[in-house]
């Protein structure tokens, strides 16, 4: 049986149905300049929170056969100002501070005396390209044990000879595929790839893998997150 109404009632009914859609207008807040920044920051923050939840400490990134490696000369060199900050290798040390039992200046030989791990892993750039590289070095987790780091601290923060800086959440810092990397393709790290020491993190995007490390701090409070992060990139960016 058909329902019946008159045109006036039908118009009122249609209007009510239309008004029910007004919540859609809330999206217009993104078009208001004053609200846009905070809203996008909140969105990125939510995204980073979800990323943190999705991260699994025991889950390893895929590794590849030597035959699948991107040739060394086709491994891109990205830096934010100089290819070579002219680090004096003879005098270089990694200065360790923060929540650790043994702060101080660590020589490369001390880091190299820790068990060496080599991995063929994918390096993903935030720009969209990816390569498969061979990286070698000490596990950051072994180094953190060696310096007596407080593993309940939230972050590992690093500074670099080219004034770049980065931070890592502790869960990622302790991941077995997070290396203090001093080798690429079984050769000592070259200057343009961050000699003498860089980060290699198979579970993070490229910009987190800082080169030319000079300082390492274990801390629960970050004054700065990272060079790119402080300009608006994701702070966590786990792959």
């Amino acid at each position: 049986m058909k329902l019946r109404t008159d045109s006036r009632k039908f118009r009122a009914m249609s209007r009510r149905e239309l008004l029910k859609l007004t919540p859609v207008l809330a999206l217009g807040a993104f078009a208001i300049p004053k609200l846009q920044g905070p809203l996008l920051k909140a969105g990125l923050g939510f995204s980073d929170w979800a990323s943190k939840e999705l991260f699994r400490s025991g889950h390893l990134a895929m590794t590849f056969a030597d035959s699948e490696l991107t040739p060394f000369n086709k491994f891109p060199i990205n830096d934010y100002d100089v290819d070579d900050p002219e680090v004096d290798f003879d005098r270089w040390t990694l200065t360790v501070t923060g929540a650790v039992q043994k702060p101080g200046d660590y020589k490369l030989a001390q880091i190299q005396s820790l068990p060496r791990f080599r991995q063929n892993t994918r390096h993903v750039c935030v720009e969209g390209w990816d390569v498969i590289g061979r990286f070698g070095g000490a596990r950051l987790s072994d180094f953190l044990q060696a310096i007596g780091a407080d593993l309940s601290a939230r972050f590992v923060y690093v500074e670099c000879a080219d004034d770049y800086y980065e931070s890592l959440d502790m869960a990622t810092a302790l991941h077995p595929q997070t290396l203090l990397c001093y080798e690429m393709y079984d050769q000592p790290l070259t200057r343009e790839h961050g000699a003498p020491l860089r980060l290699n993190i198979a579970t993070k995007v490229g910009y987190k893998q800082a080169k030319y490390l000079t300082d390492l701090k274990v801390t629960s409070v970050l004054e700065k997150v990272g060079y790119w992060e402080d300009q608006g990139y994701s702070g966590f960016y786990g792959l």
Partner: protein, 231 residues
């Protein structure tokens, strides 16, 4: 399928016309939220693409196309990622709400393209593109429409899955593996966007051709003077 048909008597002329409640509230809500988020996802996605407009190697880099910045959202890669990573939650949220509602309400029968719709596709194509006679239908959507909407829903799901494969290639490595690797997942994500844009283009052309009453039905739910008999 219970379609609500109503007879409307004009208060002045006493003429009686019909209207059908075609689009439930949640479908309309999801439609318009999705329209906004799809716009933002495509716009910011194209700005992200500009950072490496290629699907080959980084060295040497061969660019596929130079997409103009003025037709993208975010201004730079970091800004575009903020838009993309914010609206992807809205996009996925409305997608899940829509799919859940359609499934549990049974309303999916209105849009889901099934085998018995197959014979009706060609007559409809002939009508739209080759000036054939207009086939009669008893449903809100004709077979070709159902095909288009079902495809759009599938594309929506695929856009999310390929997106996750790019965003989390380690945690969801199985997704990337299913798509032939990270590298190809990025290409699928890009191609699915174009397929979606092709749908949107066709959809908008149809909206214009079918006039005001048809457009209003996606706002109020009620379609006046339906071209089909649902009783």
């Amino acid at each position: 399928m219970a379609t609500r048909t109503i007879a409307i008597e004009n208060v002045k002329t006493r003429e009686v016309s019909a209207a059908v409640y075609e689009h439930p509230f949640l479908v309309r809500l999801c439609h318009w939220v999705n329209a906004v988020s799809l716009f933002v996802m495509v716009g910011s996605g194209l700005q992200i693409f500009r950072a490496f407009p290629s699907f080959g190697a980084k060295i040497p880099q061969k660019d596929l196309l130079d997409w103009p910045k003025s037709l993208a959202i975010g201004g730079w890669l970091g800004g575009a990622l903020q838009w993309h990573l914010t609206f992807m939650w809205i996009y996925m949220g409305t997608g899940l709400l829509y799919l859940g509602y359609q499934l549990f309400s049974g309303n999916y029968k209105q849009v889901l393209f099934v085998r018995r719709d197959l014979p009706g596709v060609w007559p409809m194509v002939r009508h739209y593109f080759f000036f054939g006679p207009k086939p009669q239908t008893k449903e809100a959507y004709n077979p070709l429409q159902k095909h288009a909407y079902t495809s759009a829903i599938v594309l929506g799901v695929l856009s999310v899955l390929t997106g996750i494969a790019i965003w989390k290639p380690v945690q969801f490595s199985w997704l990337g593996w299913m798509m032939g690797g990270f590298h190809l997942a990025r290409l699928w994500h890009f191609l699915i966007m174009w397929a979606m844009l092709a749908f949107v283009f066709g959809h908008l052309v149809m909206v214009v051709l079918h006039g005001w009453d048809n457009f209003v039905s996606m706002l109020t739910g009620w379609k006046k003077d339906p071209e089909y008999d649902s009783e």
